[in-house]
Amino acid sequence: MAPIIKISHLDKFFGRLQVLKDISMEVNPQEVVCIIGRSGAGKSTLLRCINFLEEPSFGDITVDGVCITGGKKVKEQRGLIHEIRLRTGMVFQEFNLFPHMSVLENVMEGPVTVKNMDKTSALKIAEMNLERVGMINKKNEYPNRISGGQKQRVAIARALAMEPKVMLFDEPTSALDPELIGEVLAVMKSLAHEGTTMLVVTHEMEFARDAANRVIVMHEGEIAEQGSPSQLFDHPENEHTQALLERYRSGKSSQPVN
């Protein structure tokens, strides 16, 4: 089967600083891939290059058959970028719900505004997805009236409502209080169980071990190692992976700080 995401020889520069160095990777349909690594390793930048929130400097990114070449002018590829964004759903660390819209309106916004869907069909889709993340009972609340974990679940529903081919998660639990992390991870696990293709940047090692089919370790803009969770967590070969796991095991209490 053709991969949903295929990245080849991706480079990304911020000014003179190279944050991604010749990255090549794939995500296959129904696969859950977790990217782990230290802060500043380039994990988030890699994820954000996929839907062009960051412009790749060099290299090709293909999502569900739509290919964009890095380094070209954005204007020339605007249509392609739009196509890719329609095929990807993004969940942010800071939720980024629209504060002037209710929970339901947040989830309906994409189908109605972007897909030009009529309100009745959009409502149906929105309610179905709020059901999926267990937030249907809060559909008329505004974002400032719900907890961080609930916000993130709504944000997941908002992305799902666009029926993307792949979900991108950018450290979805890093901005949450510890007691709220579980509910978000539970939703993500149930999505993985349903066969949603997911690419997840995370610091949650337990989640990576339980839910991922494949784990990618990044170090200073490069892929240090990748493999199945059991292979990677139990028999890490790369020194950076070993160091990362060592730090994780020795300091489970000390949360990684961004």
Binding site: N51, H82, P99, H100, V114, P143, A155, M162
Partner: protein, 299 residues
């Protein structure tokens, strides 16, 4: 009111004998209730104090203009005399300018809001001429006096053959001027919308235009509406400058007209001042209510 008094009665009774549960109240008050009552009491005492002081100052002001005779020993003097008959006679003429003042202010603020929003959006443009146009406009308007701008539209334009009806020239001048200042408010509003909001909009596939229309501008407006109310109140008073041209018969024009003609400027101006003040008070009240309502929801 009675209920509030009874609560205070209870408060002070309980304050003395904390362990005794009140015989009249159904349940004894908790510590939190007592502290809350105390805070409310202090708050209320302050506002009552302020209200009384305001009343005293107003009374002094009225007294100063009441032509009262005062005798201090052998020395007698009178406070300022006002011809109330003149005021009564000309009140309808002056008061009919209120609606012109409100009308010209409302039209001007509407025009200014549109200009300000365009100018603020234009400053986000990456296209040099548009960015330049917006900064040029703001710089030109802020660099010249409002009084001059008003005269420019009334007196200078006719020289080159452009004759605008009085009201429209006034709206144009005031609107252009306030638009330049208010563009800063809107700019702050636009930049108050976080980058994450824009990214979230783009990530679900919105175009730049949809992102602005659906996500950024609604939030920016929510930020900008209370300060716009403030600008409207300021405009109510600045609209008086338009009277100088003689073409718009608003409050100030009417006051100076009857005042000069009958040499009763004191009475005429005081009348106009009272009207301006009342208008400002009324709109400030609505403005502060709007502000509390807008600040309630999280941005």
């Amino acid at each position: 009111m009675e209920a509030a008094l009874r609560r205070f009665h209870d408060l002070f009774n309980q304050g003395d004998t904390m362990s005794n549960s009140s015989t009249t109240a159904p349940a004894p008050k908790s510590q939190a209730d007592l502290i809350y009552d105390m805070q409310m009491h202090l708050k209320r005492r302050f506002s009552i104090g302020v209200a009384i002081s305001w009343f005293v100052m107003l009374a002094v002001l009225v007294f100063l203009f009441s032509s009262t005779k005062i005798s201090l020993g052998s020395y007698t003097f009178k406070t300022i005399h006002i011809d109330t008959a003149f005021i009564r006679e000309n009140l309808p003429f002056i008061a009919s300018g209120i609606w012109v003042t409100i009308g010209i202010s409302a039209l001007s603020i509407l025009f200014a809001t549109i200009l300000a929003l365009l100018a603020a959006l234009g400053r986000l443009s990456r296209f040099p001429p548009i960015y330049a146009l917006c900064t040029f406009y703001v710089s030109l308007i802020r660099g010249t006096p409002l009084y001059l701008q008003i005269f420019f539209f009334f007196l200078a334009l006719p020289q080159v053959g452009i004759i605008l009806p009085g009201l429209w020239a006034g709206v144009l001048a005031l609107g252009l001027n306030y638009g330049a200042y208010m563009s800063e408010i809107f700019r702050a509003g636009l930049s108050s919308v976080s980058k994450g909001q824009r990214e979230a909009a783009l990530a679900i596939g919105m175009t730049q235009r949809q992102m602005m229309q659906r996500v950024v501008i609604p939030q920016a407006l929510r930020f900008a509406i209370p300060p716009t109310g403030n600008e409207f109140i300021a405009m109510l008073k600045d609209s008086a400058l338009v009277s100088a041209t003689g073409f718009v018969h608003e409050l100030m024009w009417r006051a100076t007209k009857v005042g000069r003609a009958q040499f009763h400027n004191l009475e005429a101006l005081i009348t106009a001042a009272v009207f301006y003040w009342i208008m400002t008070l009324v709109f400030s009240y609505f403005q502060s209510r709007l502000e509390t309502r807008m600040s309630r929801g999280e941005r």
